[in-house]
């Protein structure tokens, strides 16, 4: 993911403490043994925002283009799994695709 703020779910004005807290919380829900790839992404994001100097450098030098998913994350992040409404079930029970 190109935007470390999105990875850690942080606002653009997050300070050192907020970055650390967000990293710890994210790692708790996604420890390295469960999802090493996700953990690495969290670690990379944390390193790029860890200090004020790092945050300035990220803003200056991060040139990775966004993906559609990142734009969507920014607009409306993925939430907890939701239960589809009965109407959606009925459409599929009727053989819809």
């Amino acid at each position: 993911m190109s935007d470390p703020y999105l990875t850690l779910g942080l606002p653009p004005d997050a300070d050192d403490a907020a970055v650390y807290a967000a990293y710890l919380a994210a790692v708790k829900t996604c420890p390295p043994e469960r999802d090493p790839q996700r953990f690495q992404a969290l670690r990379t994001a944390y390193e790029s925002l860890r200090t004020h100097r790092a945050r300035l450098a990220t803003a200056l030098f991060n040139q990775e283009p966004p993906t559609l998913l990142e734009v969507l994350d920014r607009a409306d992040p993925v939430g907890a799994p939701r239960r589809p409404a009965r109407a959606l079930f009925d459409a599929l029970l009727r053989g819809g695709d």
Binding site: F61, V71, A75, P81, R82, F89, L92, D97
Partner: protein, 867 residues
Amino acid sequence: MKKSRKVGAAAPKSPQQSATALLALAQGQAAAGRWREATASFKDLLKIEDRPEWRLELAAAYAGRARELAAKGMPKEALTLWENRALVAPQLPPELDYCALLLRQGKVQAVLDLLARTGGRLEGATLTALRSHLAALHLAGEAGVAAGLPADDPIRALGPTAAAALDAYCRGDDAALHEALAAIPFRSPYRDLAQVLKALQRAPAAPAEAAALLERVGDDSGFAPLRRACALALGPPETLPARLADAGDQTRRFALTLAGWGDERQALWEETHRVGGTGPQALLRLLQRRRALLGEDWARRQALRLLVPGFPKSAPLITEGGGRRLSPDERLLVTAWHAEESPNPWEAIEAWEAYADHLIEAGPGPAGSDAALRVALVLRRVDSHRDILAGVAPSQDPDSPDRDLANALALSLTYDPDDRDTYERLVRYYLRGDRLKDARPLLEQGLKRFPKDPGLLTAAMDAALAGDAFKKAARYAHEILALDPINSGVRERLVKAHLAHARKQVRAARYDLARKELDEAGQWDQDGRRREQRALLAGLLDLIEDESRGRDALRAQFAALGDGLAAALALTLEAVAIGRTAAWALKAAGSGKPQAPTQADLSAFLARLRAHLEGGEGLATELQRLFDKPLSVAAKWPLTLAESEAACDTLRRAGLTLARQAFAVAALKRWPHTPVFVLHQFESRRTGRRSHPDRAELGQLEDAWIRARAAGDERTAHRIEQVIDQYAPPPFFPGLPGGLFTDGFDDDDDDDGPDPGQFQMPPDVAMRAIIEIMGIDQVLKIAGLSAQERAEFKRREREVGRARMIDEVLELMREELPDFGTGRPPAPGPGGRGAPPRGGPKGKRQTPRVTDTKPPSDDDPEQFELF
């Protein structure tokens, strides 16, 4: 006109023969899945003879074609073919696909009629699957199902329970869901629904268990579309959009909702797909259109990043997507981002320099402010991104970017003086080139800000050691050990520093101070790793002060070391280090001229020599002369291949040329044509010789190169390649205008210098001027001389002076380059390889830098451009 019958043409086939051929054709088409052609062929066949088995085959072809059309989204045409199948073979029971198609078309009653008529002929599995389709429809509210079934049919009887389970799931009532699921028997037509709901209930905590439950629902079940949508939602979130690429609207909405996508997110995704995919242009448009939702700054920054590939041609995309034109700041930034993709570091250096200049012009604010930090970070960018200064020494090559980067880093400290790493990085860089004058102010500055930093203190200690300031080095070592008492590396360096200081004091005849240093070394040498050196040094000191006492001490020590060549090396290394001769020390120790070692002594000698060389010191010429011959004799010992290779390498590093040659020859006798030994043999033979090797020698080397490549020994192959390149046609000053040698020389490199016509001075005069500007060492380096050979020239220069040395170099050029001064290019060497062009992978600076912090020195090769 009547056509004449062709001679030899086949006679018309009998009907029996035609039917056989047609049957084979039809069956082949059916086997290949060419249902349309197969139905036509079977129909033709039935016209010849109406056989029941051929009707069955036609029915199968109709079924195949019907499925094909249904898959293509042509349900009406598919139904027609299913009906044809029923007409041609009415005895066959209806197939599930046919029934499912009828149900999807809303023809529930037709299916119920079929079931009533032919249900008894259906296979059990087909009947179960068909009833699950009816159950799914009934659950979805299709009234026709209940109307056509008796009240006690399980589809109707269990319908309310299934509906209760589904509703309980949808409203999140897990207790009610559990209760309802328990009331659905295993053999119920709603069994698959129960599996799906159980899977959904378990999915958040146990995704693997949920997946296993979903797998129990077969593809022919009426609940299969529901199962597919759930399975798509439960995979990895990052690949969800890809998994849904071919899904229909209902499946996609269901899966996205289940995966936690909100309505806004789903709407944006649908919108992007409607307007043309996820390419850069589509994203640019999306960012622009939804900038209010995304945040103006964020959307703009992302839009800039999308412009990087293909910049500056891509710049108009931002306005085409509805965004405003790029500001000067944005243009410079995207240019720098784009330049980072180039393998030529100069592109990135110049682009970031331009951006730094722009930020500085805008007013960087006080040191340490955000604006100043940005300037500092930009100035450091190329080095931190490409990690250029980490392992290099200051280069004399004007095309090498390290000097510009070092200047940029030094400048960055003006804006961000609190970056510890930059101090250490720069200091280490200058220390690698023995540029102590450049390193010291940085150290001072850095230590003022970070007085307790072990890294900077270690760098300071190393700088002090490099400048022979042993007292200072010891002081820094004490400071480091006070901070980090178990730092064994520093302890070791401290011992070495005291020993070095002791040797310095001996050389200055301050023996009492030397003893003091030895005592200090002893106190810190807790693990006794330098005990032997300390004892030898103490013995030599004794010898100087009291010959008799010293002789006894040295003899005892020499005997303790084994009395052989290894002991002689240990002793003479110390003797030379205090400015005495090897012969003096050996005589005092009761040893004569060194003799050929035993195999064990040889191993000890090489190990000791290796340890000495790894300390960064070479072997004095006196010692090279002393040990070269006895070691040559030792080449007879039967070493392993690895030992021989290690021996040759150690001898190479020590400059023991004769011995190296002897070991290489001995190894080649045991392992003929081994590339690494061919290389050692060649190099040791060439050492000290100025003439070019003959074709046979170079041919052997090229063969060795081929064998090394074939054996995958890239390291040796690379080393051989470098040696061969040394003997390629001399690339004398490839960056220089060709007019120095000939009007036509280097005429394909117009950018390298001014018009050759202006260089009409005699070559000898021109070359003298070049040497004076560039310095003798740099000229010799460009001419391809090794560091060792250049060191000889330096020594000679110290003896005879610079002016005389330049005369000698010019004389050497006349000898080595017969065409020098004749206006013709130098003759090609037998290797036939040219030097790599300058400005190759590392490129060249395009424009001069005006903000360098350091003015160019007289020795700066860049001054060449003034020529």
